[in-house]
Subunit: 433 residues, 2 copies
C-alpha cells in the first residue's frame, strides 16, 4: 500500500520528513571491480576492451576495427524500423533540436569605462561520449535526449557506445543515433566502454565528456574517470509529483502516476490533492489499471513501497511541500497551473495543465528528459547544451587601462602577501618597489 497522509494529521510534519529522507536505491558496491577494469583498459587498450566485450557480451571479436559498428550495419538495422516509428523518432528529434537550439548562449565582448576589454566566450567540448545501455533498457528516446544537445552545442565528434549482447543491434536505437548525428558507434558497454572513452585506446580517441544512463558498473566507472573527463550527473530512480484538484479524471492521473512507477521498482510517484474523494478515486483507478499493464509487477512494487497520496486542506499548502521534495517531474493538473508554477522554484521539469501528461516530455515535447532526481533539483538542472559547452573569460588591458585598475590589484596582492602578483602589475606601471 502506498503511504496515505493528511496534512491535517498531528504527525504530518514528521511523516512527510520520513518520506523525504527514505532511501529508495540500493547501491551495489562495484568500485573495486570497476577500478580493475579501468586500469586494464588504460594499460592494454583495445586488447582489454575486446577481451571484456567478448566475455560479457558473448562476441567473438578479433581485431580492434571490429569494435566499430559499420555504416552498412547501421543501415541494415534502420531498414528494419517501421515508418510510424521512424516518423515518431524524427518528430521527437526535430522538436528536441528546436528547444535546445534556443538555449544556445551568446558570446559577450565589450570595453568598459576604464578601457578594459572584457569577454565571455562559449565553445563546445571537442568530443562527447554517449553511453547507451543494451538489452531492455535501450531506449531510442534516450539516444535523442543525450546526443542532440551535444550536436546542437556544436560538438564535432559524438561517440556512442552500446553493448550488443549476443551481437544483436537494437534497430530503433540505431535509427535514433543516425537521426541524432552520432558520428561513431562502438559495440562496447560496461566499465570497459567508459574507460575506453575516458582514456582512449589505439582505435578510440578519448572524449572530453561522458553522458548517458547505465547500470551500477557504468555509474561507478563514470565516477572514477570524473576529473579526467566531465560527466553528467548520476541519475537516481525516477520520480513524479502530481498536484491535482478534484476536477481531473482520476484515470488520467492514475496513468500518470503509474507511468513513473513502471520504470523501476525504486521509482516514486506522489499525488498531492485537496479533494479526498478524488484521492480515493485515483487509488481505485490505479488498481484497475494495474490489472492490465504489461509492467504491472514493477509498477505495483514501486507504488506500494514508495508511492504516496497526500491529502491537503488546501492547494495553498502545495508549493512548500513541492519545494521540499524538489521533484524531477512536477505535474500541475489544475485550471491555473501557471499561478502554481510561479510559486515553485525547485523542480526539474513542470507539466502545465490537465492535458500535459509527463510522458509527453519523455518523448516529444522538446525539453530534455534527463533531469535531476533525489531532491537535487534544488541546485542542479536537466541535461542541456550547457553540458557540452564551456566558458572562457577574456581580459585585455592597454597601458592606460592598466594604470586605471592596476594600483588596486597591487594593493590587494600586497595585503594578501603575494608579492610576485603585485610585482607583475607594478613592473608594468613603472613602479617596481
Amino acid at each position: 500500500m502506498p503511504l496515505d497522509l493528511s496534512s491535517s494529521a498531528p504527525d504530518f510534519a514528521a511523516r512527510f520528513r520520513d518520506l523525504l529522507n527514505a532511501k529508495r536505491e540500493m547501491s551495489e558496491d562495484v568500485d573495486a571491480a570497476v577500478a580493475r577494469i579501468i586500469a586494464d583498459v588504460k594499460q592494454r587498450g583495445d586488447a582489454a576492451v575486446i577481451d571484456y566485450t567478448n566475455r560479457f557480451d558473448r562476441l567473438g571479436l578479433e581485431r580492434p576495427e571490429q569494435l566499430r559498428i559499420t555504416a552498412d550495419e547501421i543501415e541494415a538495422a534502420v531498414a528494419g524500423v517501421g515508418p510510424d516509428l521512424l516518423a515518431a523518432i524524427d518528430l521527437a528529434a526535430t522538436r528536441i533540436e528546436s528547444f535546445h537550439a534556443r538555449q544556445m548562449p551568446m558570446d559577450d565582448h565589450y570595453t568598459d569605462a576604464a578601457g578594459v576589454r572584457l569577454g565571455l566566450r562559449w565553445t563546445s567540448v571537442s568530443a562527447a561520449g554517449l553511453y547507451v545501455p543494451g538489452g531492455t533498457a535501450a531506449y531510442p528516446s534516450s539516444v535523442l535526449m543525450n546526443a542532440l544537445p551535444a550536436k546542437v552545442a556544436g560538438v564535432p565528434r559524438i561517440v556512442m557506445v552500446v553493448p550488443t549482447p549476443g551481437g544483436t543491434l537494437n534497430p530503433a536505437v540505431m535509427a535514433a543515433a543516425k537521426r541524432a548525428g552520432v558520428t561513431d558507434i562502438l559495440r562496447i558497454g560496461g566499465a570497459q566502454a567508459v574507460a575506453a572513452l575516458a582514456h582512449g585506446t589505439g582505435t578510440i580517441a578519448p572524449v572530453d565528456k561522458i553522458v548517458g544512463p547505465g547500470n551500477a558498473y557504468v555509474a561507478a566507472a563514470k565516477r572514477q574517470v570524473f576529473g579526467l573527463v566531465g560527466i553528467d550527473s548520476i541519475a537516481g530512480p525516477s520520480e513524479i509529483l502530481v498536484v491535482a484538484d478534484g476536477a481531473n479524471d482520476p484515470a488520467w492521473i492514475a496513468a500518470d502516476l503509474l507511468s513513473q512507477a513502471e520504470h523501476d521498482e525504486s521509482a516514486q510517484s506522489i499525488l498531492l490533492t485537496d479533494d479526498n474523494a478524488f484521492a480515493d478515486a485515483v487509488l481505485a483507478a490505479i488498481e484497475q489499471l494495474l490489472e492490465r499493464l504489461p509492467r504491472a509487477a514493477t509498477a505495483r512494487k514501486s507504488w506500494d513501497e514508495h508511492g504516496a497520496v497526500i491529502r491537503l486542506r488546501s492547494l495553498d499548502e502545495a508549493p512548500a511541500l513541492v519545494e521540499a521534495v524538489a521533484p524531477e517531474h512536477l505535474e500541475l493538473a489544475l485550471d491555473d497551473p501557471d499561478a502554481m508554477a510561479n510559486r515553485i522554484r525547485h523542480a526539474g521539469a513542470i507539466f502545465l495543465g490537465r492535458n500535459t501528461p509527463e510522458a509527453i516530455g519523455d518523448y516529444v515535447a522538446g525539453p530534455n528528459h534527463v533531469l535531476p532526481t533525489a531532491r537535487t533539483a534544488r541546485f542542479s538542472s536537466g541535461l542541456s547544451v550547457f553540458d557540452f559547452l564551456k566558458r572562457t573569460t577574456l581580459v585585455g588591458c592597454d597601458a592606460e587601462a592598466l594604470r586605471a585598475i592596476g594600483p588596486a590589484a597591487v594593493t590587494l596582492a600586497r595585503a594578501e602577501g603575494l608579492d610576485a602578483h603585485g610585482l607583475s602589475v607594478a613592473i608594468r606601471l613603472g613602479s617596481t618597489n
Copy 2:
C-alpha cells in the same frame, strides 16, 4: 631547473606528453577521518561543531549562538582595514559584480507551431555556503570571487564559514564579506563546517550549494556531501601558460611566471616562445627576481620542479600545444593576441596583450579567478552566476496540442515497452487501447 624543451627536438612529442601527464599534487587520504566528523555533526549537530572548533581552533565556545560572528565583531574588524585596501576591495567588488551581472541568462517562454507552450526558467538556489580558509590562505579576493556570483544570481542566503584559529578574525576578509553581501558568518572550518552547511544543525540551516577553496579535509568533505548538496569543482594547483614573442620585456614575463609559482610548490608556470634569446633572458630574469621575493622558496620549488620553457620554431605551433595543456590561465603577450585567442578553444581565462598580467584577473579585472585546473578547461568553466542558478523546463499542452504531438509519443512509448507511458497520453486522446 625547469624543463627546457625545443619543439624541434626529436623526442619533443614524448617529452611534452610527459609534461602533460605529470602529477603535481599529492592527495592526502583523509577520507575516513572526514567521514567520522561528518557522521558526528549529522548526529550531534551544534554540539559536535563546537567540540571540533574548540579543539582544532583553540576556542572556548560554550553555546551554539557563539558560532556566529556578530555584526559588532565584523564592524570592529573592518574598522582596522586601511582606506586604500577598503577602496581596492570596493573597486574589485564593483568590477566583479558588473562582469557577472552580464552573465545572467534570460528566461524563455513561447508557444510553438504545434500550439505547445514551452519554457525555460532560471532560478537561484535558496542558500549557498562559502568556505574560506583561515590563517595565511585567507584571501579577501577569494571571498569576493566566491560570494559575488551568488549575490548577483539572487541567492537570498549566503553563509560564510571561516575558521578563526586562536580567535583572530582577518580584517580584510571581514571587509570583503561585508562588501559582498554575505548574510551570515560562522567561525567554523574544516570538515565540520562543510558537514554543518550540508546537513544543517540546530542553529545552522542547511544550504543547497557549497563553494570555496580549502585543504585536503575540506576537499574530502565536499566530495562526501556532494549529491546532498551541490559543490563547485575541487581545484588543483594553479597554472599559467604564457605565449610570448621576443618583443616583450623579459622581466615582465618573468614576474608573471613567478606570480603563479609563488602560490604553491605544486603550481605550474610554462612559457612558450619562438625566440631563443628571449627564453634565455626570461630564465635569467627569474633568477634575479627570486633573489628579492618574500615567497621565493615556494616559487623556486614550483619553478624548478614543474616549470617549463618550450622553444618553438614558430608561434604557429602554439595553439595545438596550448589546447593540449588547456591551461587555467593563458597569457598571450603578443602584438595581435586576439588572432591567437581565436585559434585556442580550451583555456579557463585568456589575458590579451603585453599589458595584461594574469594577476589583474586575480583581483580587479571582473571575471572570476576560480578557474578550471589540471586540463579540465577542456570540459569545464570558471565560477559564475551559473553555479548558483538552475533551470526548470516547462511544457503545457491543451487538447489540440496534445492531438498534434501525442500520437508520436504513444508510438515511441510502445516501441520502448513502456505501456503506462503510452496510456497516459492515449487516455487523453480518447484511445485507450
